[in-house]
Subunit: 206 residues, 2 copies
DNA sequence: CCCCTAATGGGACTCTGGTTCCGTTAGGAT
DNA sequence: ATCCTAACGGAACCAGAGTCCCATTAGGGG
């Protein structure tokens, strides 16, 4: 019976292995901010992290795989949503959080890179979808509660409402040069709320 | 006085030069559909187009530059908007057009690729912004007309409304695995309309 | 504290994307 | 039809990303 060769880093995940991983992921973030995804080079990362080039290639193999790792790391530490008791307030808080994330040099660069890498690499795409399911699911309850309070039609799809808040911000970031300011965030939240109240996100028929 | 060396293809744009350009752009589209942007290789394109490898490198130099060229080519032939006289109808027509474009294997692949390439390459980013300004500007009048008919608040920003129609479709394409069906398009149009009626896209204060 | 072996890291090697050189082909002006 | 030269294209060349081999280091179970 032949033993499965088991990928490196799985048998002894602690100690040096953990330090190497942390150093490389950190270096990857730095490099992303500086050069973006296109300029990401595993050899360069090894130098920054003061780690052997061979190690980086062996552990991750490709820039997209490394990004997927980085993203799943980030998915762990998603901060809990705020709770204000008002739908308008909750959606605005969400919109501002998204805006702040995208506008932040470090996080914004990471998000752009992941969106980029998810095209063409199924593994990264799956990691990305997982991340958004989690993020959206975290905020969906504020819509459900609004429905229970009778503020929204009973068959409103909570996920769609939350996505509707983020969508304009991503679209603006990708297709225009205009800055992602707080006004844009508030507008996105207000629009989503108005559309939801009008029943645009009801499950059966719009 | 030293002559500017003028980039190739500018002095004799017709005849063979035009044929080469057409063949390469065509080959690029094919390759995009097959392998996506990540798998785009200028050497491979040269073979497909039955053109010298040197020529491709000399004329475009990089995959991103080639995409920018491809996009500006496409910007020319943007079809005129339909006119129905009803805001709801116009927005839905727009949403369906966008959806059809993104869902089309050929055009969809191209759009994803351009969005990807625009990160990190300023030239491509500029071409992309130009394209969207044009596209959005093409459809903005249907909002202006609705304002004139008194259907929407007078200080509604037409561009924001049109962008609001596209945004959810792009967001869905990028972050989920769910298909871009016609229902999603209609929902996007309905949501934008409802938000606009509620005054979410007024210029001064939401 | 020792031992076994997972994991790292240096360095040689390969393979391929991209450049350079220079001869050939063909636009288009006269 | 002729000529000048813009543009093309084959082939040799170069650099750097990714792989392989093997010696060295250090987890962590006993």
């Amino acid at each position: 019976m032949v033993d499965e060769p088991s990928s490196p880093g799985t048998v002894r995940p602690g100690g040096r292995t953990a330090r190497v991983r942390a150093a490389v992921l950190r270096a990857a973030e730095d490099a992303l901010v500086e050069h973006g995804f296109a300029g990401l080079d595993l050899g360069d990362l090894a130098q920054r992290a003061e780690v052997g080039r061979t190690t980086v290639y062996r552990r991750w193999g490709s820039t997209t795989a490394l990004l997927a790792d980085l993203l799943s790391d980030m998915a762990e530490q998603s901060l809990p949503r705020t709770r204000s008791g008002s739908l308008a307030e909750d959606l605005r808080a969400n919109a501002r959080l998204v805006r702040r994330t995208l506008a932040d040099p470090r996080q914004g660069a990471l998000f752009r890179a992941v969106l980029v890498a998810a095209n063409g690499d199924p593994g990264t795409a799956e990691a990305l979808r997982h991340f958004y399911r989690r993020r959206v699911g975290e905020w969906a309850p504020c819509v459900t509660e609004a429905v229970e309070r009778g503020e929204l039609p009973p068959d409103t799809d909570p996920f769609e409402v939350i996505r509707a808040v983020s969508a304009p911000l991503y679209y603006r970031m990708l297709t225009t040069a205009e800055p992602l300011d707080e006004a844009a965030a508030d507008r996105a939240a207000a629009a989503a709320e108005a559309a939801a109240r009008a029943g645009a996100y009801r499950r059966a028929a719009g």
